[in-house]
Symmetry: C2
């Protein structure tokens, strides 16, 4: 399946036709943001921007899309418009890899309303998923400390979504992936070990290990739990490690994929060390997540490499980020969506977001949202609580939304996954630990400028009356 402009919800095209007939030149500003941090985490890692920009630059309806829409009853004049469709708008965005928070714009699209509407689904589809997985990966990295992290989830991923999961995992802090296609296209490190089937295809395990070590001696990892981990697999691995030493080679590691990983890794470490194989690493896998890894670390399990699959690439248990795309301006006028739930009321206007840094270079713990035309602000107010406000005049303020696409062309240079991952780590290093803990992380504040708050409240009152 190629991503074309038909990679969208039908209602986008239906609404587009109405706009085409009734107000073809409407100019819209849409905000992308989410409402709740995934996994009850203290932050999210914004990911997917480069893919969105790449796709948008060449987005078209294919001939087959046009035939399909004709068959759906769309009219010829509108179909002619769609044949020539391209996205010609502007995008202002947070940097990919930055830490982001709920209820503040992460990205703003400014475009003809037809174009802005048609790209909505694609944009949400790519950004919601990659942000979810990069955030999960970031939590796993936090647990695993300096251990090596390997993504091996493709077989349990949501079909071709697994391709994007491997990219997002790298941004969130994984060292490598088993996913060849993603590694090839995104220039991510790729690694792999061996499967049980490899060993089963031999009459005995030792022969399997020997063949593997002979043909693939470099980074060789032997899977030792097919029949009996400590009584059979480990002794066979030690035999092969010694045979490799005789040839001047070194066994990279052994892998445990079942049983109690804390117990087995300690036993295996002791046996390997007693055999003078302290350089042989211990690789583990089997339904790992950030909590299992945290527990293994707390038990001082001597594990060098964690292979994480299902829980990483599916973003369990949340499995989705609740990102939305809301109209905030139309033809220069501010727009708002009301809700019974005050948290769900959207923020009107084209906006800028400022992040404050303290004297030590750490994030102050607050992003302030202002109307774009206001420029820098001195005071930040709580979005609803009228008793809460903070003087931010003395703090260093960084504007977070930068122009990344103009007239449908990207205007920032392409960044590699490695560059994005490094930027993400540098930003996380500025975030105090209290926002990173898993249990009730400290709440990073999102405030509004006084002007934005007043104008929003005026709009609410106007609609309520």
């Amino acid at each position: 399946m190629d991503i074309t402009a038909a990679y969208t919800d039908l209602y986008q095209i239906t609404m587009a036709q109405v706009y085409f007939v009734t107000k073809p030149n409407g100019k819209a500003v849409f905000d992308y943001y989410y409402r709740r941090n995934p996994f009850d985490n203290g932050y999210a890692i914004f990911a997917g921007l480069e893919d969105v920009l790449d796709i948008l630059e060449s987005l078209k309806f294919s001939e087959s899309d046009i035939s399909y829409l004709k068959q759906k009853g769309f009219e010829n004049e509108f179909l002619e418009y769609l044949k020539n469709f391209s996205f010609k708008g502007s995008i202002r965005s947070s940097k990919e890899g930055d830490i982001v928070f709920p209820n503040r714009p992460i990205l703003q699209v400014e475009a003809n309303i037809i174009e802005a509407q048609i790209i909505e689904t694609l944009l949400l589809n790519i950004l919601n998923f990659q942000t979810l997985i990069a955030t999960k990966a970031s939590r796993i990295r936090y647990s695993a400390k300096d251990a090596i992290l390997l993504d091996m989830g493709l077989r349990r991923a949501h079909a071709t979504g697994g391709y994007y999961a491997s990219r997002a995992a790298a941004i969130g802090g994984f060292d490598s992936t088993s996913n060849v296609k993603a590694a090839e296209d995104y220039n991510i490190a790729s690694t792999g070990t061996m499967a049980h089937s490899f060993i089963q295809s031999y009459d005995n395990e030792l022969d399997a290990f020997r063949d593997f070590a002979q043909v693939r001696p470099k980074n060789c990892v032997l899977l030792i739990d097919t029949y009996n981990t400590l009584k059979l697999g480990l002794p066979n691995a030690i035999i092969v490690a010694k045979e490799m030493e005789d040839k001047g080679e070194k066994l990279f590691g052994i892998r445990l994929d079942s049983g109690d990983l804390a117990y087995l890794s300690k036993k295996a470490r002791a046996i390997l060390d007693a055999a003078d194989l302290s350089y042989v690493k211990i690789v583990v896998s089997n339904q790992l997540d950030e909590f299992v890894i945290k527990s293994l670390k707390e038990q001082h399990a001597p594990i060098d490499v964690f292979g994480v699959g299902t829980n990483l690439v599916t973003g369990r248990p949340d499995a989705a980020l609740d990102g939305v795309y809301k109209l905030s301006e139309y033809n220069g006028d501010p727009r708002i969506k009301l809700s019974e739930n005050i948290i769900k009321v959207s923020l009107p206007f084209k906006k800028q977001v400022y992040r404050m840094t303290d004297a030590d270079g750490l994030f102050y713990g607050a992003d302030a949202v202002a109307i774009y035309t206001e420029g820098e602000i001195d005071k930040m107010e709580h979005p609803f609580d009228i008793t809460k406000q903070i003087d931010i005049s003395a703090l260093k303020k960084e504007p977070l939304l930068e122009l990344v696409m103009e007239d449908g062309k990207r205007i920032i240079p392409a960044r590699t996954v490695t560059e994005i991952a490094e930027y993400s780590q540098s930003r996380l290093a500025q975030l105090p630990d209290e926002y990173k803990r898993f249990q009730n992380p400290h709440t990073y504040k999102i405030g509004l400028s006084s002007q934005l708050k007043k104008e929003r409240n005026d709009l609410i009152n106007k609609h309520k009356s």
Copy 2:
């Protein structure tokens, strides 16, 4: 991203190279099966087969894949092999859309071990995900009874996995999708309504409704909760419905996307009926799943159409099916994978699975697994409990695994999603209700032939000694 043979785990290629050097002509049989029904459901709906067959028929490594693997250090002779790689094996499978159960083969691959290994990841990736989503859709269909079900999850799906989610949802019982691309390629019905942004782009809601109804009068659904559902949205929708009547048109429906859907749908139904608009349907959405729909039905909420998004396309809360691919024969010899957990011991041999039907044409509640060469069997034994066996001699037995691909070519005609969905419904109609309930569904039995059980136990004992 195009799916090529590099859409796999690196270890498959590493193992392939070892096989290529040491035993290039090994012949393997692999079983695809899963271990636990998703969502604690009583069954799963098998989906994804047609996609797998289509992809396998033309699977190749691209030039860029070969360059990448060269750069990864794979040797020239093996790279030459990969350049000419195609899948030339056979596949025997359950029919797509059938109801399936844990711990029995759903599909068997018989091929050169290199080919069988390289396709493992792709096969698991497509089948695990689509089976998960078709099963979720089936549960939602069970709750919703005869109501119309609309998939609208693309924006929260796992990137391009959403394309396959829409296909699987249709197989599991959904009537239509918002996903234009999937509808176009898989010939699924597509539908859509309107977004809040459409209404927000107008100075008032009534103008928005009027423009929409004028341009798109067919299947017109008005979203009534942007500002105030009962005080503003519904009265405006009624004005437009009456204006449409004057032109000989009929408003299809109104949509509720927030608030208490039971309360609001009853109020809206009464108000519409009082305005002589009993034909106007009520469409609802907002974080629906099988449990919310069941509750709405129990409250007699007069809802005609349920739009389901996130919980459907992400397969929440499970988010993954634990499907595996295990070697069961190598060069004609049975193979087994042991485990500390007896449930995880694999079944050796090339096999056939039989489903028993009772005199009323209902499924008897048991599938029996036998060695392929045994032919039909008279007795089925519990896999582990030596006290349990069933005489099945008098029951009608249907062999479930049919040859679908031979020498790398599909030998069954392509089936449309609609045909597969209809087949699935016909199979579900044969399954007694006690296997369909959500709370502790009755356990559908999986038994072994006496010969398979004895041979498996002999293999376990051989490896243990």
